[in-house]
Amino acid sequence: MNPRLPAPYGSLINRDAPLDFSFERKSYQGFAGDSIASALAANRHWLLSRSFKYHRPRGALTMAGQDANTMVQLPSNPNALADRELISHKLDVMGQNYSGSLRTDRGALLGLFSRFLPVGFYYKAFFKPRGIWEKWAPLIRKKAGLGVIDQQLQPDYYDKQYKFFDVVVVGAGPAGMQAALESAVEGCEVLLVDENPILGGSLNYTRFDAEGVRGRQLREQLTKKIAANSNITCMTDAVCNAWFADNWLPIIRHKRLYKVRAKQTILCTGALEQQAVFHNNDLPGVMMSSAAQRLIHLYAVRPGQAAVIVTGNNDGYANALDLLDAGVEVKVIVDLREAPSQSAMIDAVVARGIRIETGYAVYEAQKARNHLSAVQIRKITSPGICADSGEVISCDLLCMAVGYTPTYQLVCQAGGQLSYDDDSAIFTLSNCPAVMQIAGSVNSHWDLDACLAEASRAAIIATNALGLSHTEEPAQIARESVSPNHPWPIFAHSGGKEFVDYDEDLTIADIINATRDGYEHIQLVKRYSTCGMGPSQGRHSALAAARLVAAATNRTVAKTGVTTARPPFAPEHLGHSAGRSFYPARRSNMHYRHLEAGAQMLQAGAWYRPAFYGSANNSQQCINQEVSNVRNNVGLVDVSTLGGIEVRGADAAEFLNRFYTFGFVKQPVGKARYALLTNEGGVVIDDGVACRFSDDHYYVTATTGGVDRVYQSMLKWNAQWRLDIDIANVTSAYCGVNIAGPRARQVLAKLCTDVDLSAESFPYMGVRQGTVSGIAARLIRVGFVGELGYEIHVPQHCGEALWDALMEAGQEQGIRPFGIEAQRVLRLEKGHIIIGQDTDAMSNPMEVQMGWAVSRKKPFFVGGRTISELEKKRQLRSLVGFVINDPRAPIPKESHLVLEGEQMTGRVTSCNYSPTLQKPIGLAYVNLENTQPGSRIIIKSTGGVRITAEVVPLPFYDPDALRQEL
């Protein structure tokens, strides 16, 4: 390791904690607090990556994690930013996007063919002839993307947390620190967020005065005050990655995503330094002036030996002083301006005898061994045009100080408008929502005192708006008339390679050609050229691209605008979106009994339900046995997931009459009635049974997946009708089983002695209340599976006890539990539809043969008017039953098509092998010509095989319903 600069240089590193790490399999040493890039720079290693398209050598550009040049491969993830990611003991870092080695990348040959890879290459090259894309795709896919994903990696634990603050200040530079302090009035909870490891922002590395003392002094002052203020919470190493409605701020810190709600947001996000555009401006050794200053001040690393500075403002001179102080030779300051304004900073540079060339540009950078070796400077003859020849100056560092763009991303996400003045090259932001203030260089204030004053003002506005202060609002702070932004730091070169967008390897010609190809709008230029679509999202290309497009289309930059900056601001790990999330799984009270009985569980919506009992390798046999046992003995199925809604009150019957399709007003107490629900469009959306326990008390069941919607819908209707009822969703309050099979009564009779279970006194579709094994129960005689059966609903906490009692009582009768797979087969044999499986978003009652469940005599029901309209029209399809008689035919699955010739005329909705009928049976939508029993329909079954099925009357099993009414 080369010696570092002495303290106080190196505010981020701990010189007492050296760390070994490797890059490209070679060992290096750095200090704790070093980023990968700074530690490598300290070892005079500058090459970090290869560019995406031409595989050009790239090094640090911003040293702020704002560019894609520094993307490296870590064992845990690709595309880590080497200037943001800290080194750790034995960290194994590799370069990306090369073939061979990072130093000698064979992919760099692509650069030689760059003129054959014009802008819009993909659109042009693969459009014609038809089919050519298929040939190219594998090659392109191989080249596309960066880095490697370790597919064996065990993901880390990422999670989320909510936070609440009165004021959130984003950016802890001078303006942010001042805004936080001024906001921290009594009763105001303030959060100060910064992406860097320490507070201070530019105060940590920018030279604000010729002596170079003001920044550090101010930082110490503000930091002390903040530390002493208990109202301020600081979050460093934390990126506020977006602005969402009502000040909802996603802040990412390490492996946690904070969802922060602020009442007021003050954005002090600063500005991003921009590059000059010239030939080979992407070489390692060419960097932003602020990057060189970060290396010096934050990491105590000398950014080079011999430097040239190209500048369009006075910050380039401050940069020169910093370099000189750090022992870097400054060969020349190339000032794009003909006549720089007077300043103490320039005087100081002059006093130190540094060569200054005004009205000059860096025309090209030259390369040796993957690094900058010299620059050629030329006199500027008119904006963007240089003299025919110039002077070559050898150097290994070129610092660019030609201007800034405000870090406007969050402001614009909040609806703020970015404007640009073509004469002064100053950006302004306006139209911020009332809950957002901005201050500092994001608002084009460059003078330190102006920044502080404006930050105070923003804070006063914010706390006044919150009612936490009543301070007179200070007057607006005037902006300096001189902008640090040079209006045209762009110099085309005969050899091209003047990079506008480093991520996507786009040059001046690419942007101009995009406009010549007819894409003149900046948004179209972006999509056609991919400018700004890379990992750094246009942070360093938006302004240059806008200027070029403006010039090429004879518009102002103000008119041309920049592309939308959508969230996220910085790349985020997938873990933050895919990490810990909540899917409330629901379990019945009998859940563990199923597991103990060997059930294979599946998740139906949120619920765990037993699919079948037995080995997964043996599923069909298990299901068939469960079916047979219900048909011949008695089975027990957990129906706790079924929805249950209490409708109580004087208008209970009237309400159901309006809500469901059937008539309920005359329904006798002690009876259940099928309840079919349609929406206003007449589409079948749910079903269940309505059990009338007394004149003013109904207990209505609903489907497992539909009950929450049904309940909400009931409430919404009654919010309008205002009937005298109460509606309560008691789904979870009741556990239920269906005991079904010819021996069901025998079993139940052992446990239920207070209800007369005889067919005469408790017939099919009867409901009773009694006790089962001493547990208060609601008994409903239903026939979903087509056998004598009782649904028994008991309070939730009794589920396990009920299950145990029935299983024990039924032993003698051969009782066995059955799962939902068997239940599906049983109900299909009986021809019962499942809403959502056998219906779709268009199914009306007539199509699914449920016309009988629609009352035409009621004054009103939801969907009624639409159904009567539908009945006037010709029906288009019908759900019918079919059997497959050919034992060799592959069994169709749900959604397999019903065909007539090549024409699709319907589809299968349910199909299973029926152990009872010993052949496959199913339901399908067919056109009306094929509804007659005996019709043959063609189904395109598994493997594309066309099979013949025979339409049969429903139900398949027990058509006279003798068994369920036993």
């Binding site: 409330p584 906490h797 009794c798």
Partner: protein, 229 residues
């Protein structure tokens, strides 16, 4: 080891297997079986820091309807004034007002409150409808100085002490499960009752333990909670 097991009665918490796995010692109180303690000697201190207790087998009930407020008042219940607040009763029970027409009645930690049984026994008044709250919802308690901080990982409502006062109620989403959160401090220790759809009990319990791990939160028995009062 005590010989009391949760399965000796019909009213079992959905979590009794998890309690047994954690080595819980159960207590029986008037036919109600609760986790007395998990055997740690520092359970009281744990409850002051961050504890999670299962109160699901304690009595509770609910009433709803236009006549409900008047009817429960006639039965001697002191109603909270505002919706989404609760009021401690003279018999130590707790009544939360969930809307102008909906009430939730919770027992005290010793199940000595007689109000719930009384309300459940007598026939309800006009336009008053009983809700089976003891079956529809589980009842957990999160206690301790870290409770609000822990909640901020799973609940979007600001439950910090100075923002969510004692006796406030929030009907909201906890770990994406609809829940009723009630702040009911035990002595000087912050305590939040959570009532969530009973079918999601295990899910919620597991989520809470996961969220608590960072703050060394652990399950605590009812003995520790009683000791806080």
């Amino acid at each position: 080891m005590s010989s009391i097991t949760p399965t000796q009665v019909t009213r079992r918490s959905q979590l009794y297997r998890r309690h047994s796995e954690l080595g819980a010692e159960f207590e029986e109180n008037n036919g109600l079986i609760l986790v007395k303690a998990y055997g740690s000697e520092t359970e009281l201190a744990q409850a002051k820091e961050l504890g999670l207790a299962d109160l699901s087998t304690l009595p509770r009930t609910g009433f709803k309807g236009a006549g409900a407020p008047d009817w429960v008042t006639a039965q001697g219940v002191t109603l909270p004034r505002q919706p989404n607040t609760c009021a401690v009763q003279s018999d130590a029970g707790l009544v939360a007002k969930l809307s102008y027409q909906e009430l939730l009645v919770l027992s005290d930690l010793n199940a000595t409150s007689s109000m719930i049984e009384k309300l459940n026994q007598c026939s309800v008044g006009e336009q008053t409808y009983a809700l089976p709250r003891a079956d529809s919802h589980c009842w957990l308690a999160v206690t301790g100085s870290q409770a609000a901080e822990m909640f901020s990982k799973i609940c979007a409502v600001d439950l910090r002490a100075h923002k969510f006062a004692n006796a406030e109620v929030a009907q909201t989403s906890v770990a994406k499960a609809n829940s009723i959160v009630i702040r009911h401090d035990l002595g000087s220790t912050q305590c939040f009752y959570i009532l969530t759809d009973v079918s999601a009990t295990e899910f919620l319990w597991d989520c809470l333990l996961d969220a608590m791990a960072e703050y060394q939160g652990k399950p605590v028995g009812i003995e520790a909670l009683r000791a806080l009062v």
